[in-house]
Symmetry: C2
Subunit: 222 residues, 2 copies
């Protein structure tokens, strides 16, 4: 119970960019991207929509701030130590889990250029690529391939999750999916028809990691 001595203390109901972003993240988590509205947000903060514009330029800035806030909280936790490939796998999983927890992050992270946290992650991956001894001319290609895969896969996973209500039975969803692929014309879709059976015991997170390892194997060849 700290006594309120510093003059930086604020009344609990005072508006600030921090509080706005915090509320925005909560609303995005609860109601998805379409649930975040300046009207709904200002109602939650008990003000008018115009008040928010004093602290935030527009919705794009708000979404960018929410993205950075949601990702940063997960990123700082992990200390980046160990063999380069292990560190990359760890970073990848942190991002996968963050996007799994905040599905709206998927859309946001793969929009526009890398900056803020995304740039930091790119940097971290790049450092590991260098530590792996990849030739200078191929470092950027390797790092950006990993980056693109990680963001793309996590985003894909979030999109899939959004298709089904949170409580849906996992096995049932997979079975439905498998049945759809098995039902495809074997003449026209031999591949998808074939591998439909593999979907039964399918772990999204494990397959995500398999993909990362696949790229890491390719990077190791360089």
């Amino acid at each position: 119970m700290a006594t309120r001595t510093r003059n930086t203390d604020r009344r609990d109901d005072a508006l600030s960019k921090e509080r706005i972003v915090e509320a925005a993240v909560a609303m995005l988590d609860e109601a998805g991207e379409s649930g975040l509205t300046f009207r709904a947000l200002s109602a939650r903060l008990q003000t008018g929509p115009g008040a928010i514009y004093w602290h935030v330029a527009n919705k794009d800035e708000l979404l960018a701030a929410a993205t950075n806030a949601a990702l940063t909280s997960g990123m700082t936790a992990e200390a980046a130590a160990g063999p380069p490939k292990d560190v990359i796998r760890a970073i990848a999983l942190i991002m996968f889990d963050a996007i799994d927890e905040h599905p709206w992050l998927g859309e946001q992270l793969s929009r526009g250029p890398w900056q803020g946290v995304t740039l930091q992650i790119c940097e971290r991956i790049g450092q590991q690529i260098q530590a792996m001894g990849v030739p200078a001319g191929l470092q950027f290609t390797s790092a950006s391939a990993l980056m693109i895969y990680i963001l793309g896969a996590a985003r894909q996973n979030a999109a899939n999750a959004r298709m089904h209500p949170p409580g849906t039975d996992r096995a049932e969803v997979l079975e439905t999916h498998a049945a759809a692929w098995r039902g495809l014309d074997p003449e026209q879709f031999p591949f998808l028809h074939d591998i439909a059976g593999q979907l039964r015991d399918h772990d999204d997170r494990a397959q995500f990691l398999d993909g990362v390892n696949l790229i890491l194997a390719g990077v190791g060849d360089l």
Copy 2:
């Protein structure tokens, strides 16, 4: 100059899903995703907004139809013959070029599950994966890793392109970008600071292909 004999002939100004989708693609190309509006579209087709809803359920269906139309026109052109890896590279480049030409495709393709043309592409890539002799248990991982990378990279490229007006000098953009990275604190961003120099002679399409080859190398190891 075919004579109008068949009763399937329509007056040129008759509305149809085909004409609507065609106009939608044109508007997306000209004005981007925010340029496609039911009001603007109906004005272009010289009707009211309600007329469109007779042929199309909603905007999502319209965007999906536009996506399929824009991608299909490019896909059918190429005959898929040759060594598996070559075919995969060819498919990848077709998609890259299609998204480069229709930047709005990037957003659309990585939204929701694979279906329509996207499913066909997945099938085609999967067939080549099988032809490469990849073990059954790793075929899906390989195909989806390629798929995710191709979609993600092309999307990233489209996002970058959208940042700059079409006429902008390429070298100038790269130089600005390189300067930004070079300006990063070397203590905090050693990797990005280091590779800034490589950006000067940077070819997005070539690097995209490098990434595909990287994954193909990893798949070859399996």
